[in-house]
Subunit: 232 residues, 2 copies
DNA sequence: CGAAACCTTGAGCATGTTCAAAAATCGTGG
DNA sequence: CCACGATTTTTGAACATGCTCAAGGTTTCG
């Protein structure tokens, strides 16, 4: 819980980190939706909704971190995304959620009922435009991840992950990693052991410090960028 | 060229295979956009647009097959999707295409200028609603592929691919595969050799026939479904 | 403070890759 | 319609990356 306490405050002050230069910053959209949201606390490890649950709302993270997970019948897991304050999620084409949403740390999310959103968009077409832009942006991010999972090596994947978390940490060289090594592995299509070994290797190469399993300091960002492209 | 000639006609008669039961069938959306599209022929192997090209239009496949590709600096390639008649593509959050679009077979696509779509949606909010539903559907499909690339074995990936192509072939047990083994490998995050070996293994297990490298007949769909889940 | 969970490290192994060559198919030109 | 060179597909053998299984350390949290 201490880890979480250390992360939430900085996150609160950067509510739209994930879309720093986007056409649809989370804050703006959130303002438009302000009156119709229901705030909800989700404790660390708890499920906001399960895979297959009725999808009647969209959500936005206010504080904390949410992970979206899919499970295969035999227990293999893929994490689709780690969501930070400002991020929207829960869009579904059908009436069921196609993945579970769980809290990595104690989190606050706002739920917007679809029926209420439909009412709002009917009278406010620019809101719909923003939602479309947001969905397209998320599509593009998912497609970028296809390259990572389909074609990158383990080292390249971890370098990409660290850079991604670094960008979302808003300007510092310090990255908080509240999720477990297993979470990182399930996000990158690797095993816990491989992730752990690669962290050690990057530390031994002087590319990063690991003062704590859940906190890293990037020492050589350019090296990470070279590794992440496959320049090696 | 004979392969393409054999495939295009059947494709023409099933223009919306990819969204057979969708809330936003390609045909309906296409009708709404009818007046603003510009038809374009793309020859086998040719590029409709390059990665990084200006993204000023959205597209729909009319006939043939389009592949969306991303390249890494060293030449590794990931195919994001194979698009069939009825499928929309080319949505981008920014002003550049984040992947190339190339014709697998001689294809006809319709291009809709973004500026014209913006005009249409301004006067027709339900069109925007349909575009949003379409984008969310594509997001969901991309997320499904993350599980495939992140967590499935080579055999499971190929079984998923065959089932996907089967669904899109509209009811028969015969699947046309106009793309090369390398294309399939780049779609599934494997190598050409592995794909070829797995096809051979499935044939030897009596699960499918391969009368021709570009045509397969599914003999045991249930076996494919079991394999694709990881039930093995 | 102590038990449980998580992280790290090691050694052996398996899946899928790489490199190489043979077989099949394609597609043009006679 | 057939022949021939180019391309693609298939098959084989050796190899490497990342996984599995196992044990020892560290961190978490009641």
């Amino acid at each position: 819980m201490r880890t979480q306490a250390a992360i939430a405050p900085s996150a609160i002050h950067q509510p739209a980190i994930h879309q720093p230069s986007a056409a649809v910053p989370g804050g703006e959209l959130a303002n438009a939706l302000n009156t119709v949201g229901a705030t909800r606390l989700v404790e660390r490890g708890a499920e906001l909704y399960a895979e297959g649950a009725a999808a009647d709302s969209w959500y936005q993270v206010r504080t904390g971190m949410i992970r979206l997970c899919k499970l295969m019948p035999d227990g293999r897991r893929q994490i689709e995304a780690f969501l930070l304050p400002g991020d929207f999620f829960g869009f579904e084409p059908g009436n069921e959620h196609s993945f579970a949403a769980e809290a990595v740390t104690d989190s606050v999310v706002v739920a917007y009922r679809r029926s209420r959103i439909d009412q709002l968009t009917a009278s406010n077409p620019s809101l719909m435009q923003r939602l479309l832009t947001l969905a397209i942006k998320q599509l593009c991010e998912a497609q970028q991840k296809l390259v990572l999972l389909g074609r990158k090596t383990a080292t390249e994947r971890l370098a990409c992950f660290i850079l991604e978390m670094l960008e979302r940490s808003g300007g510092t060289r310090v990255v908080n990693l509240p999720m477990s090594r297993t979470d990182i592995a399930d996000y990158l299509g690797l095993t816990t052991e491989t992730v752990s070994r690669l962290f050690t290797a990057l530390r031994q190469d002087g590319i990063l410090d690991l003062p704590h399993p859940h906190r890293l300091v990037v020492q050589d960002r350019e090296a990470l960028e070279e590794i992440s492209d496959g320049a090696q």
